[in-house]
Symmetry: D2
Subunit: 345 residues, 4 copies
């Protein structure tokens, strides 16, 4: 496997880590060299993940500090926030794709406000590239640290960035309603995530204070050249994968103009698709794939439009986008390893 890039995945015992391994397994230029998960070091992937039962040759899990980084071309960080920056900040020579929240915010004070503690490595914040791939292509080839966006920000930014950049919608009156599958809550042991608590049910959470808010506002404001605020309410729904955001925006232009902006922005994109007029985004359009779908609808209320986007939270919202960024960092074709069509039903 001489022509393969050697990767390490830190945090391979979580859903994003596992989905990264799933995708990396069939990536023609990746060799999965090391897998770390401190609490489960010594176990095989097949022991902790049912879907790797047929892959006994995957590396056994080790503790993160047991990995010889001199042997690694890229580190994927799939750790919880804070733990991620603490560990990754000790890596100085290897390129890093981080899937945690730790390198997304540019401002250490904002981080401290929202994540409940001082940033473990604030000096790295300016170096990190915010890896919403479609808007980061110029910076990725030279990046050493790439911060993959959160799942909600990925969907919301794909829906809205071209619109705020063109000043086509009001920056003050954006209302986003978001729906996520339960894998977004991670594999940690909480009563609230047991099957019987979630199945046949729906509830909102993080109302008015979800941690993905500052990240969305940071990127929208940056692109708009002015402060953008959003109301954001996420809900947990009984499905494994998938995320759908419904954005009510105010606009002096009609929905057709917003459509044009999105059409222009995504005409050449391999993974972001503006749906035909009248077709509503649905998570089943993208399940298991790196695709995102967006669309625009007129609202009955004059002066408003509805912009909707759907992604798979674990793929385009996390591990798939990480691979997409990796490809660009290492000069590979952007779609390599991500060609799988969505799985339905």
């Amino acid at each position: 496997m001489a022509d393969r890039l050697r990767i390490a995945v830190l945090g391979a015992s979580g859903y994003t880590g596992a989905d990264l391994v799933r995708l990396a397994l069939t990536h023609p230029r990746i060799e999965i060299t090391a897998l770390a998960a401190n609490a489960k070091a010594g176990q095989t992937m097949a022991q902790i993940w049912p879907h790797f039962a047929a892959y006994p040759s995957l590396p056994t899990l080790v503790k993160a500090d047991a990995i010889d980084l001199s042997d690694i071309d890229a580190v994927f960080g799939c750790l919880p926030h804070a733990a991620s920056a603490e560990l990754l900040s000790t890596i100085t020579d290897t390129r890093i794709i981080d899937l945690s929240a730790d390198f997304r915010l540019k401002d250490a004070a904002t981080y401290a406000d929202w994540y409940g503690g001082a940033h473990p490595a604030p000096s790295l914040l300016s170096e990190a590239v915010y890896g919403l791939t479609e808007f980061a292509r110029d910076a990725l080839p030279a990046a050493r640290i790439v911060a993959c966006p959160g799942c909600y920000p990925t969907a919301v930014l794909l829906a809205l960035l071209p619109l705020v950049a063109a000043h086509a919608i009001s920056a003050e009156r954006i209302t986003v309603n978001a729906l996520s599958g339960v894998s977004g809550a991670g594999r940690s042991l909480k009563e609230a995530n047991l099957f019987p608590e979630v199945a046949e049910a729906v509830h909102p959470y993080g109302i008015g204070r979800h941690r993905h808010m500052p990240e969305m506002e940071q990127e929208l404001s940056l692109r708009a050249g002015r402060d953008v605020t959003i109301s954001f309410t996420p809900h947990l729904i009984p499905m494994n994968r998938g995320e759908l955001v419904t954005c009510i925006v105010e606009t002096q232009h009609g929905p057709d103009y917003l459509r044009e902006l999105l059409a222009d922005a995504y005409a050449e994109e391999p993974f972001v698709h503006l749906l035909p007029e009248g077709v509503a985004p649905a998570t089943r359009m993208v399940r298991g794939s790196n695709h995102a779908v967006v669309s625009v609808f007129a609202d009955r209320v004059p002066g408003r439009a509805i912009v909707i986007a759907a992604i798979d939270n674990l793929v385009k919202g996390s591990s798939g986008q990480a691979i997409q960024n990796f490809n660009l960092m290492f000069g590979l074709p952007e779609t390599m390893g991500l060609e799988q069509a969505p799985i339905f039903p």
Copy 2:
């Protein structure tokens, strides 16, 4: 069963009809006298409904015109719109609780706009009482025709009526995001409602043009004394029962004031409950029951608040509220037959 009121259910082959029968079965003052479903006349309820397997003594389904109405105290209409008004308008002496959309709108022209055809019995529109029970108690005892609200309007109106009545929120900038279980789509044969199309998936529908909009605006405007408009986007989620509405409102008052208004409105209500501060409504709080839960949250964006409500779409959103109205029409205790606690998990 001399002390029982004799009821007929028209449309007993649909989900709302079946849930009405489920509740009526244990109502101490109801005798289920006749069940109609034209396409399935001649079959038993146990043949068309699995959950009535243990109830072989339920009346066999007949065609609606085979029912001797002189024998019936109350007719429950569980038919599709238009068909409902056509049939019910031929009934002149029996009291009617209609669960269809046909008698909800006061204006026949609005009905024609939204329901795609002239109203079959426009002269009855003024007579019908809009049966959101908590706000219709005065009119119910004397009502001959009660129009039960749609499921979405029930949830939205319970969340917002006390607020618009007090002019505490902007009438122009209400954004409602709604989530419904699949039973809301009815038992009709559509590819889109097959299990594999809906499970592990979510999508919006009726975007910017759902038929429950004019009904919500009619009632909100009536109560506000001025025109109220709302943006309303419903989504179908993979669960059987339940409905949750998330309303982003603009207000010059804080969320505490909105809470107080709801607390005052619902302090004595047996079925509508303001949750403690910080507790988010969830459909699992009300599953299978006639309860509704509401709550108010501050938004990060100044001048906004988030009002959320959850109901079981088939019970408080349909058949349960119909029984609740029936109770008041006939001078029975309001909660009779509706005492079941929510079922969880």
Copy 3:
């Protein structure tokens, strides 16, 4: 509430405890006097159970030893095995309905083999009545301790007891395949019970060694007057409630004879229903109710028949049957508080 019997529920923080409270809430002769859950003492039921959000007046949870038993007519034990017997054996004057496994097996050695430790109170084993209600009616009125059957045994015994009693099926060649909803796994924090691990998936568990086996064989053997052995394989399927057992039996009689035996056994039963020929039991027939449905089918293979039963694991398989037993213990009508029809969809 002078005419009400005062009950205490020990273990009100588990699914069976909660479902017992749900049913007891509308039981006309029960007053819920005390609720215990050591780990959650001090919290309200509404704080730990979403579906009790509308019931703020339920007793606050206390530690079990804080309950004044002199004030209690009946104790419902909803604790894990071993813990249950340890606690309940200290109660000497109050009547006990135990939902744990601790008083089901008559033989302390068998208990030790299967439950991994000596029985905490072996002297009580002979006193306890095995409370499969339909077959325990004579013993219940005088019973001080009633051991409610496990959920799987309830379904299997209802399907097979009349057949083994009549020696109509082979005692050596019974194969039972069982399917259970996830609530059967309890509310404990295990990775395996997280929503994403269970949804859209199925797997067998406890293969060849599930703890409900000795209980089933004990009761079948007792009724048959000879040793009965069964092969039993349970599977966890992605639903909240419900249990279905498919029993392949060998018989020298045809399926019609087996049907007759079941028809005779259950002709007068309020909760156990032999379905019409050709109608297959389904969990949706009984969801949320105390009903059980059974049926018999011919197999293509000569000399075999297929007997199938379905129950709601939390109701007839647990809390509902506990109430049914309670009713008979205290001379109340057997169906009191259990009249709810199944909920569908």
Copy 4:
């Protein structure tokens, strides 16, 4: 695409047709040349399938007779039985991989018994190769017509063929309990397949008379060199994909010997995996992939063992195995286009 084999898919509007297209899309040696679905001719795949929203360049659906077969290297038949043989029997020069039941049974009379009518093209039955790939490798390269096994037979035969071939289990006493996701019921419009009818529920179907029985017995008997009979009871469970079969067998050998037989049979197989001792097959191990997992367990009852297998019914149970057969028919690597790892959660 000169080096690509041109395929036509007949019946692209069903779940198996769609999953074939999903897999073919990323197969490096396939060009999807024509897609037929008579009732939906003229529509695009994106119009009838949400997950092809991002694939607007797929061929538009045509009627089957509009396809120029001279241009096609292989035809995949994804039509209902009878319709399949009728249409495919008119194709004389093109190689055919049929996913229907029409060419699986060798005996036209058995077909007529089970499928309710004379076989449309009995002369082709002897020509067709039964394409359980792992046991058909010799015949596939020269085959003109390959009949892909049914989903249940695929799982059952992978579990049992090596055991009956070695005469290690009783041929008369095999009991199979099977569980399938709802996609197995197809995309046809039946009330019974609506989401609310299936979700949160389970039921058996085709009890004692499922059409996959004769197919299983044919292949088992052929391999055993004597008549094999099985009791087979399938159940529909609330998930999209996946199939699990639990086989209770009688054996004079211990489970270890059965394990050895399976280990020998599948040691070199890329898609069939014997799990480590004690690990139970689960559908989540194979979801979305062409893998099958099998395992053997001791039963408590002496002389019995439990053999369990899991597959994805749409992949190894249908479209994936069709591609696997296609690969061998055309001299391609067996795993080509089937490398995707299972998707979890």
